[in-house]
Every structure is written in structure tokens, then in C-alpha cells.
Symmetry: C2
Subunit: 343 residues, 2 copies
Amino acid sequence: TKIVFLPGDGVGPEVIGAAEAVLAKVSEQEGFSYAAEHHAFGGAAIDSHGDPFPTETRAACLAADAVILGAVGGPKWAGGSVRPEQGLLAMRSELGTFANLRPATIMPGLEALSPLRPERVTGCDLLIVRELTGGLYFGDREEGSEAALDTCRYSRDEVERIARIAFDAARGRRGKLTSVDKANVLATSRLWRSVVDDMATDYPDVTLDHMLVDAAAMRLVSAPTDFDVILTENLFGDILSDQASAVAGSIGLAPSASLGSGKGGIFEPIHGSAPDIAGQGKANPVGTILSLAMALRHSLDQEAAAVRIETAVSKALADGHGTFDLGCSDSTKEMTAAICERL
Amino acid sequence: TKIVFLPGDGVGPEVIGAAEAVLAKVSEQEGFSYAAEHHAFGGAAIDSHGDPFPTETRAACLAADAVILGAVGGPKWAGGSVRPEQGLLAMRSELGTFANLRPATIMPGLEALSPLRPERVTGCDLLIVRELTGGLYFGDREEGSEAALDTCRYSRDEVERIARIAFDAARGRRGKLTSVDKANVLATSRLWRSVVDDMATDYPDVTLDHMLVDAAAMRLVSAPTDFDVILTENLFGDILSDQASAVAGSIGLAPSASLGSGKGGIFEPIHGSAPDIAGQGKANPVGTILSLAMALRHSLDQEAAAVRIETAVSKALADGHGTFDLGCSDSTKEMTAAICERL
Ligand SMILES: CC(C)[C@H](C(=O)O)[C@@H](O)C(=O)O
Ligand SMILES: CC(C)[C@H](C(=O)O)[C@@H](O)C(=O)O
């Protein structure tokens, strides 16, 4: 089992360090072994290799059973002609990880973390299935200082393969699928909606509805418990998943898994590189630690280890542990230690 | 003074009726006169004229001092080759209303309407300035059942004119402007950001910052009081303004103004046609009534009448009046009467 760690930028190295500590302990407890590698990625790789996704990093990722990523980006590279985010998009595309799973769950007893009133958010347990290798992120562009252009293209096949993941996920959960688009304006959304409708006949046990993205953004605030699985395209998924993680408490807690047709995948917290707090030991490691749990479940066949981690995280939080984004005072290391103790 | 009412679809006629009742009373109180016209628009106009924005409606709108719109759209027309929303987009474009102002305010004493905890939302008073006649809404498209394409184009001029509105608005408020984009991915966002940066030197009294749209969606939930004026492009503005109105209490309360370079404008509630409750007397008329107040302020030179309406709405809500979306039991007519009594 080969696991590639890509610390990346900002708080990335700190949260990756936390995930490694958890993996070391849980692998011992569950009795499995693995080989870990570290590679340059993002802004750090621009600095060291002039390329945010260097050839050796690419080769390592393609050979890995799972890639665990910290975060990329920062003001240092924002103005440059090569940007850290290009490395992330290239990696997603070249590893073929078209399905991005972003759960947003309120852990029982932790309702106080949410900015929403407890009666609105208690029981919230939703999964956003975001298309990750198409749409505006990968369309042709024209850069310019007088005019600029982005294009958004989707094909039937691209919609079908991500919709299948979402229908299957809904089947394994509460059987409810909400497909989010902007079909009253966009051609790609009308295609999206019709493909999803065509597939619904294969899933008579799943209740499908369609929602416009503006209405979805509204309901995620006013009634987040209404959702089970949300299926949407790349950019809408980017926006709604950050919003959903804030609804569930803190973006610092939210994990994600990016999967393709094979077993491998990319696992990363939803939060960004947070350059303002980088190197200060303040970063919340939970999003990355829960992403590691998703890696163990989806790519590494270690369901027991995944559950062990998730349980330990819930316990640590329930015991009042937390980093400063949660209004608590643990450092990244203290929080990680609190989780490791409870594994 | 010529005011054109476009009831449109779903709950549109009900909420427009409410605005007319308020206008009749307030015009008497403030001693001004006006001529009101009603025209077919949206799905209703597809049914009657085969066109969501018929020639006579277009001529009336172009000659009007203000257009007050109910809502458009509904499942009846969703599958058709001509859609109600095309009328709305054509109207916005032909009237040149490139600036869409969407305030989201918690009225003092009405914190209980918000799904957020009072300590998170008390004092929330933000204004979204949304570009309304460019971007993905007006790009070239390719429809298709195997593949589809949308394009997003922005020019320097388009960004400049909307940014000027936002800078000026910030100057007249708390002096803080947050420009929202996705500059780490989109070429149009990088153009957007550089144009806004160039203009900042003209506004040394305004504090400008840039935020990625995913981060903005997160902060609108976790810390909505951090914002003063938000400037953004068409689609991001659509999503964030619905989200912000939900944060502030109910989308049923939220008004909007769409302005161009002249005095006229289009004024409409943020909510949609809500076909599920149409004709039942359940619609919240407040969004439309507050949109009328914006029309009186921005296009009709009746600031006193605008303030009178806003004060009456606050009083009615503070006295416990409200429609079912607010957890209250007033019908549309009862709510309207409660506001009229307090004018
Ligand atoms: C860093 C950025 C390009 C990325 C995205 O927009 O996909 C991030 O926001 C995410 O959601 O993983
Ligand atoms: C009806 C629809 C086309 C419209 C939009 O997306 O602009 C609406 O959602 C709005 O925000 O006014």
C-alpha cells in the first residue's frame, strides 16, 4: 500500500503532519502496513521545481493507492503566470478523479459548533457529490486586460458517470437525491437535468428532485436537514460545499474524497491554505484527519481504521477539544494528540 | 410619472396587488400622482402572446419611470422552446439595467426570523451589487442532448461601470467593499479583479478586499456581519443574494432594484414565482412592497414615501404580523392591510 502525502502550501504541512501521526497509530492498532512518500506540490513546487505539479510528483501520484493533500495557493503566487491551483486542476484531471464527495454532517452533541440555531441544524447529514473534472474549470479561456472569456462544456457521458455515483450514494443513504443546476439559464444545465432525468428510471428507489442553484443556496441555510445527497457540477459544487461546511460548523472540520473509476483517489480537507495562520500551530487538523479516514474507507480497504478515526474525532470534539476556529484553544498538535489518545 | 406593473407568473399577481395597494395609499399621503399600467410578461405572456416579453410590454417598459415586476417562471413552461426567463433576461438587457442592488438586512428586533443564532447575525446590514447584463447569462450557447456549451465573457467597461456603482455605494455606507470572484480559476475573474484594483485608487476612503466565491459563501453563513458592500458578477450574485436573503430571515422579505445609466429601473422581489403556493393567498408581499420603496427612492424621487413604507413594514413585522414563511399566519391580504394601517 503506497500513500503519497502532498503537504502543499500555507497550513498544508501542519495538517498533513497531523494526518501522518494518526495514520501511524491507527495502522499499528489495525495491523496494516504502508509505504509513505512526500512530494512537492502547489506553490511550494513552483518554488522548488518551477511547476506546481512536477513530473516526479505526477508519477508518484499515478502509482499511489491514495494521495493525501494538504492545501495549495497563497498570495505569494497569485500574480504569477504559473499558479498553484493549476497543479491541483492538472492532478484532478490526470488522475481522472471526476467524483468529489463532500459530506457535511453535524456530529450529535456538536450542534453548538454551527452558526445556525440548533433546531434548524440538528440531524443535518448531507453529502455533496460534485463533478470535478469538467465545466468552467476545464474550459477554453481567453485571458485579457480588456476582455476575457471562460467556457463551460459538459457532455452526456460526463454527466452520466457523476450522476451514477450520486444515485448510488443516495441508494445507500436515505434515498433522496437533489440535482442542482441553473436550467432556467444555462444550456449545460438543461443537458445536465435531462441526463439525470433519463437515469432516474434505473433508480426507482431513489426520490429525485431538481433545484436551481440559487434556491439550493437559500435552502442550505434555511433548511439544511432537508437534503440527503446533492448532485451538482464543478463550480456550483465548489460554492455549495464550502457553504454546507460552514452550516455544519466549521470549514476546518470538513473532509473530501476525489474518486475516479479505479480504486485510487485524492483526499483533502475542504479548507484552503490559510496563509494568515500558517506556521503558527493554529490550523484545525480535523478536516485532513477525516479525509484520511475517507482514504482508508474508499481506497485502502481499511473500513475499521476509518471508523476508529471518525469515532476518536467525535469523542475529542465532544470532550471539548478544538482549535481556535471552533472557539477553543488547542494547538494543531494538541488537537492531534487528543484525537490520537482516543483512537 | 408612469409606473408599469408586470404581475407575471405564480404568486406574481398576488404580490403585485399588494404593492399597488401600498402605492395607492402612500401616494395619497405624500400627495403625488402617477399613472399605472399593467402588461403581460413571462409565462403568462407566452400563453397570451406567444412571447415572454411582447412588443407592447417592451414599449411600455421603455417609456416607464419604473417597472415593478412580480415573478416569472413555473413548471408549465419549463420544457418549452420559449421560456419565461428569456423574457426577464431580454428585459434586463434591453432596458440596460446592468446594476442589481440586493440589500440583506436584519431589521432590529427581528433577529428571530433568521435561521442563524442571534449573536451571529444581529446587526447584519449588507448590500450585494450584482452585475446583471453580462457573464454566463448572456454568453453564446450551444444546446444539445449529447453535449452543451455556455460561455462567460466580460469586458473592462462592463466591470468598470458596475464596480463604480459598488464603490459609490460603499462610500455612502460603512466604506467597506468586498469584490467576489473565482480568480484562482477563471480568466474573467482575473480581469474582474484587476479592473477593480485599478479603480481602487479613485476611492482611497473605501477599504477594498477580494474574496473567492467559495470563501464568500462560507463567510455569509459564519460571519455575515463582516460584510458591508459585496460586488460580484451575474451568476455569483444570483447565488450569494439568495443565500444572503435566507441568512437575513426569509427570501420573502428581500427586495431588489435593477438600475441602468438613466433614472428608470426594474424593481422586483428576490423570491421566485413559487407555483406551489400560487393563488392561495399565502405569498409574502413584503419583498415586493420593499421593492416598491426602492423604486420610489431610486427612480421616482419620493424618498419620503420610501421611508414611510420601510417604517410601516418594520412596524408590522415587529408587531408580530407575518405570512406563513415567517412562521406566522397572515394571508397576503392581511399582511398587506397590516402594513397599510401602519403607513
Ligand atoms: C483551490 C481551488 C482551485 C479549489 C476549487 O475551486 O476546486 C478549491 O476551492 C476546492 O474546492 O477544492
Ligand atoms: C429567474 C432567473 C432567471 C433570475 C436570475 O437568475 O437572474 C432570478 O433567479 C433572479 O435572481 O432574479
